[in-house]
Amino acid sequence: MSLNLDARIPSGPIEQKWDKAKFEMKLVNPSNKRKYSVIVVGTGLAGGAAAASLGELGYRVKAFCFQDSPRRAHSIAAQGGINAAKNYQNDGDSVFRLFYDTVKGGDFRAREANVYRLAQVSVDIVDQCVAQGVPFAREYGGVLANRSFGGAQVSRTFYARGQTGQQLLLGCYQALERQIDAGTVEMFYRHDMLDVIVIDGAARGIVTRDMVTGEIDVHVADAVVLATGGYGNTFYLSTNAKGSNATAIWRAYKKGAGFANPCYTQIHPTCIPVSGDYQSKLTLMSESLRNDGRIWVPKQAGDNRKPGDIPESDRDYYLERMYPAFGNLCPRDIASRAAKRVCDEGRGVGPGGKGVYLDFAESIGRLGRNKIAERYGNLFEIYERITGEDPYTVPMRIYPAVHYTMGGLWVDYHLQSTIPGLFVLGEANFSDHGANRLGASALMQGLADGYFVIPYTLGHYLAQVKPGGLDDSHAECIAAKAGAEQRIQTLLNVKGKKTVDDIHKELGKVMWEYCGMGRNAQGLEKALSLIPGIREEFWKNVNVPGSGEELNQSLERAGRLADFLELGELICRDALVREESCGGHFREEHQTEEGEAMRDDEKFCHAAVWEYQGQDKTPARNVEPLAFENVHLAQRSYK
């Protein structure tokens, strides 16, 4: 073990850790802040909030996104809502309960101190967003409305129709644009980050490619913040945006940042099923639908009757049957596996039998069509546009799909990776969701990290380093730039027969087949033997048309796939070594008689942190032990 995995968790009772940490942190005085420069990569909720907040404080910020505008980041697609422990509903919520639910929902594989802080600042996030003008849903009396979400028995989710991510991101984007106008943030659009520059052991800059001109540039700063999202697109088909990629975090991993728990991937239970080989992505139907929709399949395998012709007595509302306490609102990993199980039993519906019904007939009967339209209208429209079926009259067909990755770069309590000066926020880090993320918690974490954590912890870091003193003529900068240029040339020079997507689909099939909802040693070993072959095929036979000195979308995709091809292997390796089932990681060898996930707390109550050892060398596995002092380790029960 050579990675320093000191999580820097403050001592003392969990309720006081964050206050204590904030007080003990060093500060940069207002007139010195402008001497420090900070790079923020990614402008979703975490990166956008960080760039705006750091700009407000007076640091000189350079922000980067690969899209044409920071407002396009994939946070925008989050639908259902954001959790906050406000207890506005008087239904027994509290900071401790949100903390408890999140630790339990994550199947006891998250760091307690980080999760507690997340629950604490959740209340500030909602206040901040309201003040920015985010139009959250309201009651007639003018107060904020709430809905319930999976894995919780209280209503603590704040929402803006089915477009909560959009509205939160626009709030954060507007705050960022305000700083751009004020001159504290310099914004770089259509820039891909290709590498991170590490000098004397600290992160000091990045290499970027201007996606319009193809120009490769070096940007230096006193610290680098990565908020580049998750790696779900390793599976090719996922609910992520087409451009979502792992290049930034993978480059950082190869420069020495530990990668924690890569096998923790979330398969979301409610997505629109695949319709053909041309399928380019999968579309999520918000978990909020499970508030009013009932999930069922026919009791008999091979029942081909239309859903409306199947009487109640022949239907199996399997989540309500198996998990009466939480019913349709059990956590995502559990709902996904249950759907897979009934489909494997031959009871799935729709083409190929890969689907289950999500039925609104009962709630439309109880609440009326208008109420349902008010709550979910835009989701029903999306469904109808994609499938051509009207969910007001025919039940939706849904199936699980890759959605979110709980794993990511390892960070300490300060959100700093194992490379000093390299901070990682939002989905890109591993810290708060353990082995399974609860619904409406991704938005909460992104904004917590960006608005309320990084402004303190980054200041503490900067207060201990001297600003500036570096330009792009440093040998490391020149070498990193040359490396990025060389890699692009290599990709262009292959001139093979297969397209980037051909090879990405091959990788996706292997990942989904052997490292999807159910995993076992044999399958994972098979995947580990197949992936190097696909990688070799890629470097020998990929066809990337065009040149590097122009806008070249094939080249962009090829660079990202090259990294997915390495990361995919690490995901499988991590899944193979973790011989237990926890949250989204389900090892078929480790389950209870009822088919529930069975953890092995003796051997695996830790975060696995992978350390790069060089090209084609097996990475080293380090561990950060997890201590549960406030939430008692127990098998999750939602029955």
């Binding site: 505008s69 697609a77 206040d127 920015q132 803006a160 959009q166 380019s280 397209t499």
Partner: protein, 257 residues
């Protein structure tokens, strides 16, 4: 089904462009429009030709990346739908379609069907926000907001910034886009403090970018994938007019002490 596409091909911002004809012999009705273009691009790549560049990301109709003209209509024939959500079941065997980039002086073509819409960001930067720094917010329920106002603000805030309104407008005006943000914030109590300043600055920036004036043609509302209403423009004009009369430069007399 068989679909014939005529696509605007232009190598770079300054290069000469032209329409090029492509024939797709077997398009599935379940494909989205962009998935059909994916299939075309895979074929072109295999043949060693340059694939068609088009902007896209979420493919769920919310990020606002995608958008081009199909037979002269932004996002194509289906109302209230971005092109990524447009499915081929709305077309017929043998259809011939003309695809062009959004055209406006303030949206220069980057390549093929992709345009530069950064002018829209600069309009937001000119005042499309509430100036409230991180950490200075009161409790979320401290300020009750009339549900109807909140709902109307949400309607306006649904704008995805795709630029279809600009592309459809005979004047290439960005009035629907700009007014959606002005309305979103003007309808909420949080937006009142900067209401006049916002209207003045955002409208000025819109003209600065080279967008035209609104002449109530109404094309923008008809093509908006998110159903943003024309009444927002009326609200913007009222706010702008009021602000133009009442607006005074900030006073700096005496300094801050």
């Amino acid at each position: 089904m068989r679909i014939v596409l005529h696509i605007w091909r232009q190598k770079s911002r300054t290069a000469q462009g032209q329409m090029v004809r492509y024939e797709l012999p077997s398009v599935s009705e379940h494909m989205s429009f962009l998935e059909m273009l994916d299939v075309l691009n895979e074929d072109l790549t295999r043949k060693g030709e340059d694939p068609v560049t088009f902007e896209h990301d979420c493919r769920e109709g919310i990020c606002g990346c995608c958008g081009f003209m199909i037979n002269g209509v932004p996002h194509g024939p289906q109302r209230g739908t971005t092109v990524c959500q447009l499915h081929m079941r709305h077309f017929h065997d043998g259809d011939e379609l003309w695809l062009e980039p959004f055209r406006a002086a303030a949206f220069p073509v980057i390549k093929d069907l992709m345009v530069d819409r950064s002018s829209l960001d600069r309009i937001i930067a000119a005042g499309g926000y509430v100036s409230v720094g991180t950490g200075s917010a009161p409790d979320g329920n401290a300020l009750p907001i009339i549900k109807k106002c909140s709902d109307m603000a949400m309607d306006a805030a649904s704008c995805i910034g795709c630029g279809a309104c600009v592309a459809s407008c005979p004047n290439a005006s960005a009035s629907l886009f700009t007014s959606a943000k002005i309305s979103h914030l003007a309808l909420l109590p949080q937006g009142q403090a900067e209401r006049e300043r916002r209207a003045i600055r955002m409208v000025a920036q819109m003209l600065e970018e080279g967008f035209g004036y609104c002449t109530n043609a109404g094309e923008c509302e008809a093509v908006c994938p998110k159903g943003i209403k024309l009444e927002n423009i009326a609200r913007m004009n009222r706010d702008f007019l009021k602000a133009a009369i009442l607006y005074r430069e900030e006073s700096a007399a005496g300094g801050a002490g």
